[in-house]
Chain length 231, copies 2
Amino acid sequence: MANKSGRATGKRSQRTRSPPPSAQERGGEQPLSLGRIVVTAIELLDAEGVNGLTMRKLADRVGSGAMSLYWHVDNKEAVFDLALDTVLEYRGPQQKAEPQDWRGEVLHMLEDWRASMLRHPWSASLLPRRALGPNILNRLELLSKTLSAAGVGDADLNAAIWSLWNYVMGATITRASFDFLDADRAAAQQRLTSLSERYPTIESSHLLLDDDWDGAFRKGLGFLLDGLPLR
Amino acid sequence: MANKSGRATGKRSQRTRSPPPSAQERGGEQPLSLGRIVVTAIELLDAEGVNGLTMRKLADRVGSGAMSLYWHVDNKEAVFDLALDTVLEYRGPQQKAEPQDWRGEVLHMLEDWRASMLRHPWSASLLPRRALGPNILNRLELLSKTLSAAGVGDADLNAAIWSLWNYVMGATITRASFDFLDADRAAAQQRLTSLSERYPTIESSHLLLDDDWDGAFRKGLGFLLDGLPLR
DNA sequence: GATCGCATCGTACGACGTACGAGTCAATTG
DNA sequence: CAATTGACTCGTACGTCGTACGATGCGATC
């Protein structure tokens, strides 16, 4: 832990090699590469969750030995970081909307964000422990620009950005963890029966049963956008 | 995995035994108990983080053999659940404020929530993967009652509750993960220098440098409360 | 004293992340 | 051509983890 910076070996970080075009396929398998490792890791995470990703299983899926991964990747944590950042990439709105529609642009980006994470529920539980990857910073940058252009004053800008970010993060994480819970219906059912006695208001409002998550997300986001102070 | 429900042994779940008052202390140590396990687990989590909690280390701290823990606890996941729920307990506002001050009551509960999680940063990264414990449900119930009494209509109630919940969750998780990042200043510094080129708006607004987290939290919460539709 | 439940713990097993060094093979150099 | 290099792969091994299993101790009851 103390000599963490002693890592002098370059290993792989860029993949700018001349493509071996006519390389005869070794048993019909593609060559190992960082890209292939990452997409396979995402598949594995989708299939078996955070605890299902092990270096040995990942190597099996890629068709290599376990230790071969370590040529392309520093350690398991790096695999998590790469998978997370890959999943969070954002390609702006497909058709250029009218440039004045800041609200539409913010909504599109935030809903895409949420959708991306819900497509890969493990990402929600991974994000809290990880750094801000480039794709997250891209989204923050876009959000920042759009809000500023929309007329949010400099004094309120940071609070506004964080409010939206926080809202999306919380909503997504909550939603994703509910998916986890619903996995074992037995415990869920038992919890719900005990709810009516101990938590009457929650029960009567169907807070935990209402599954119109998308609608609630949009509605709450509307509340928040309504509260933002525009110049 | 298939016979998970085959667990018929009662083990320990309640601790309503007659207290052994005159039991001579065995080497001066208290008896092992679920409560002692949980508080020790929290200490260990505070000291060494999520990855620092292992059953063997926990047993050492409690002064027992590793396998003795399993008499009181189903498995390691249960330790996480118990530690998390314990940390999230809420004892309402200390002095009874005037009963009409719904905004103050909501603010107090949400800020206490955030403060509780930030006192134990591991809780933020743990929450996304765990069930809603009783103490979380208590807070949701209180929030629900307060907002309803404040005049939020039934049609908007759930969206309002989730908005506040999402906001607090997101803000807390973000804040806690920033603490993690600041642990290694080297990478942080490097990231910041590359920021000015790639992410100009983020840079110029000092989004990542401004460390008035508490103020930003309160301000954004204000935006959100301002946006709630009251009857 | 014999029996029985509660509670503790030593040993052992399989799975994990990964350090280490030996192996392969194409490109480069003489 | 042979020798060397460097990019890349992987088998083995070590230490650590969660925890299944069965032996053990002990106070209460018969």
